[in-house]
């Protein structure tokens, strides 16, 4: 069950065995944690830097990796500008690819 890749190999079963060991260790650590957590109390509320959570507060998908996304945004917005939604622009970019293909084919 080994996928030979030239440089080495990949064995999913070996990985699963290692993952099982890590899970066992994690389970051991978890079992030694506090047992006084109560479901249905304020302990379930999201932790917002120690601030009181507003009514109906929820950490949604758009909040995850917020800094990561905002950091990338200036670069991505430039890319978004290319995706104008105008079909004439689509064809223009296709002409660019065609020109590259013809150039390479002629070499």
């Amino acid at each position: 069950m080994r996928l030979v890749t030239g440089e080495g190999y990949w064995s999913p079963l070996a990985w699963l065995a290692a993952a099982a060991g890590v899970l066992l260790l994690a389970g051991l650590l978890w079992s030694r944690g506090r047992r006084d957590w109560k479901r249905g109390t304020e302990e379930e509320l999201p932790f917002l830097s120690g601030e009181a959570a507003p009514e109906g507060a929820r950490v949604g998908g758009q909040h995850l990796y917020w800094g990561f996304v905002e950091g990338l945004r200036p670069y991505v917005e430039r890319l978004r500008a290319f995706h104008s939604g105008f079909v004439a622009d689509y064809v223009a970019w296709f002409v660019v690819v065609l020109a590259m293909a013809l150039l390479v084919a002629m070499v």
């Binding site: 069950m1 996928l3 699963l16 998908g61 995850l64 995706h83 690819v97 590259m100 084919a105």
Partner: protein
Amino acid sequence: MNLAPHASILAIAVPLLGGFALPLWAKLHRRLGELWLFLVGAFTAAMVVLLAVQVFTGGIQVYTLGASSPGETLAPGGFPIRIMLVVDGMGAFTALISVLVALVSFLYAWRFLTEDHGKTLALTLGLLLWAGMLGMVLTGDLFNFFVFFEVTSIAACGLIGYRTWEARGVEAAFKTMVMYTVGGLLVLLAIAVLYGEHGALNLAYLSSRIQGSLPDRIALGLLLGGLLMKVGAVPAHMWAPDAYGEAPAQAVILLVANTQASLYGLLRILFTLFGGITDPVVGWLVTGLGTVTLVVAALMAVIQTDLGRLVAYGAVSQIGYMLLGVGVGFTVIRARPEYGLVAMQGGIFHMLNDAAAIGLLFLCVGAVERAAGARDLRGLGGLSHDLKWTAGFFLLGALALAGIPPLNGFASKFMIYESSFRLSPILTALATLASILLLAVFIRAFQGAFLGPRGKPSEPEPFGMVLAMGVLALAVLALGLAPDFFVRHLVAPAAEALWQGRDLYLAAVLGG
């Protein structure tokens, strides 16, 4: 009657004719239509599997239409003038992918669509698209390749825009149609140039005659341009997020398979038709476009808030990985076959892995849209309370697509990373960066759509949809846990057929 010698033509003819007959049966009774679809789907799948077994055990299969026997490839005078189907390992591999995707698509549509929402029309177009894909990958004739290329284009645009009551789908269909038409015209022009130069349309015969003259090279450039557009390579990819994002889920996975049929066409052109004259610089073009594709699409996915468009950009980025793998392979395989072949296998294996993982994600998007009536991640949440299966399948597909071991995406990406590193570590670094971006994107999407407190109660997914998603989830697990089995029995013969199979391909048609 022994159907085995006719498997290749039946694999194309049955879904083509069955698709046109489907509305007639459905008109008589809805159940008759469903029964007909089941029969056509099962028979076509059986023919493709039979054909694949023939190819993987007995080598290239040739079927000549209009001859006194299917094996009679040359007309009197020694010229291959008849229409011919030529199936090698790569053709059989791509046809098997289309079978997996088409059967899952029809199973999903069984409960996903209703007659009020154009079910029969969608299934008819789906069968025609499948027939077109099979025609593209099984034909040995360049003009027939163009005909089936157009069949897939028309059926695909129909599938994107048949929901005429939704403006965005129609707009996406129009844009895709414009791009497909321009690309198709260039492919036709290339075929006309080759016909004018060599007076033939048979792929093997043309391959034996092409010497690298100026018209030959112009035809190569035109074919490369047209096929790279249909594959969805950046920057000619812009139709793809529109199409994938707006088509209904059961149609999108067929569009993904159609993209892979076009990638097959690109590989056939590079390795077989122009295999005698192309040099590594073409491989660099494919490698470069693949790298740009995977990075740009992953970056674009970061800022999407529509779940459908987010997965659509994920799908485009996976095309980049396939192009990177086969591009690296094409660049170095003659000089360094030991890692060029691994790169080729990685790119080809990723076709199958992508079909399973991204197909699963698109089906999950369909289930979300059906349950919540929306796809905007800013308004979704808590769907795992009602859509338990969909939530699990989405997580599985997302992790697979991001290349998390031991799921299937990892195995093929690992092969691509290792081999591209030998060509240039920058390629590997960019490919890894794109995978990290995709992991972040899909974790955000999973959190946004499925986690959190329960919102408006949603109806659970019907059994047919769960079953369809389950088939792809099983494929993701099986391909991930036993990659060596699939690489040895399916991927390696496909890669060998491209790399070292040109002479065999020509000999199977032209003799000698």
